[in-house]
């Protein structure tokens, strides 16, 4: 079994009030030097079978049509080694 991770982020030009709220809180908490925060979503998909090009293509398709709204969001797909022992 392999894990495919889909990261969904608001497009850079779209206002992200949640990210801004986090950023505004940072100096108050003593974390300086962070000029911008943007909040996104991370999806972890446990894929049965091998993660080959065909499987990745399917994941990209579902990310584009469902997980992300490409009117406002970008997405990135990556394969992650599942290391149970380390967790």
């Amino acid at each position: 079994m392999a894990r495919v991770v889909v990261d969904v982020m608001l497009k850079p030009e779209i206002l992200d009030p949640q990210g801004q709220a986090v950023q505004r809180a940072l100096p108050r908490l003593g974390f300086d030097g962070i000029s911008d925060v943007r909040q996104g979503k991370r999806f972890e998909l446990e894929v049965d079978g091998p993660v080959d090009e065909a499987a990745l293509a399917r994941v990209r398709e579902l990310a584009e049509s469902f997980l992300a709204n490409t009117v406002i969001e970008d997405f990135a797909v990556k394969v992650e080694e599942v290391t149970e022992a380390a967790e």
Binding site: I14, L15, Q18, A21, F66, N69, V71
Partner: protein, 226 residues
């Protein structure tokens, strides 16, 4: 002679019963439609009501858009079936790409419930014939994700083609671009808006105004006269 207007219930729809009531008060026949049922039961128009379909998890409207009933709604809307999306229904319509743009969280990050002043910008749609152009109305607004966004090109096109149907007046309650409260598609049969006309149909209830009733009388007249 009356018209049959369907109201879809998704899991998490909240204003479906209220919308059916508004349709009834306008003199049309409300028909309950179920999200798992592709069959639209020969309705003459469809309303996608407000609520938090599927908990608004993922994105507001994103999961509903893939329900069986929406396959038929999308197909028939493209063929001219009048469709009105209210609040969550508007979100579903943008997710389904029946209307351009998208809806994001309010810029102030809070749910907001208020009696919202609007200007009617377009009375040529299937749902706004009973208003007069430029009319100022008050309709309750209540949402978490009401910030309308679209790219510059889309906005320009919407404005140039007069497809902004309603604009917020007095106060932009959520950071929507160009104060947009509602829009229509090119054909004018599909309309989406954030405020809730079904909550402004009785003088005793809610804010006590009936500024929302013309939505439902507009469509009824159009269907009956068609």
């Amino acid at each position: 002679m009356t018209a049959r207007i369907g109201v879809v219930t998704f899991p998490g729809s909240l204003d479906d019963r209220d919308t059916r009531r508004a349709i009834r008060l306008a003199g049309a026949e409300p028909v309950a439609l179920w999200h798992k049922d592709r069959d639209l039961h020969q309705v003459d128009a469809v309303v996608l009501p407000g609520g938090f379909s599927y908990g608004d998890y993922l994105r507001a409207g994103a999961i509903s858009r893939f329900s069986p009933v929406m396959e038929s709604v999308i197909e028939q809307a493209k063929a001219g079936l009048p469709v009105l999306g209210i609040c969550n229904g508007f979100q579903v319509l943008t997710e389904a790409h029946l209307l351009p743009g998208a809806m994001l969280g309010n810029d102030h990050l809070h749910f907001i419930c208020r009696d919202q002043k609007l200007r009617v910008e377009n009375t040529d749609t299937a749902w706004t014939g009973d208003y007069t152009a430029g009319q100022e109305i008050h309709i309750p607004l209540k949402n978490m994700d009401g910030r309308y966004v679209a790219d510059a090109h889309t906005l320009e096109k919407l404005e140039a083609e007069g497809r902004v149907v309603f604009r917020y007046l007095g106060l932009n309650p959520n950071g929507s671009l160009n104060d947009i409260a509602g829009i229509t598609n090119e054909a004018g049969n599909v309309v989406g808006l954030m405020p809730h006309p079904e909550h402004a149909v009785e003088s005793l209830i809610g804010t006590g105004r009936t500024d929302g009733l013309p939505f439902f009388t507009s469509i009824l007249k159009k269907l009956v006269n068609a």
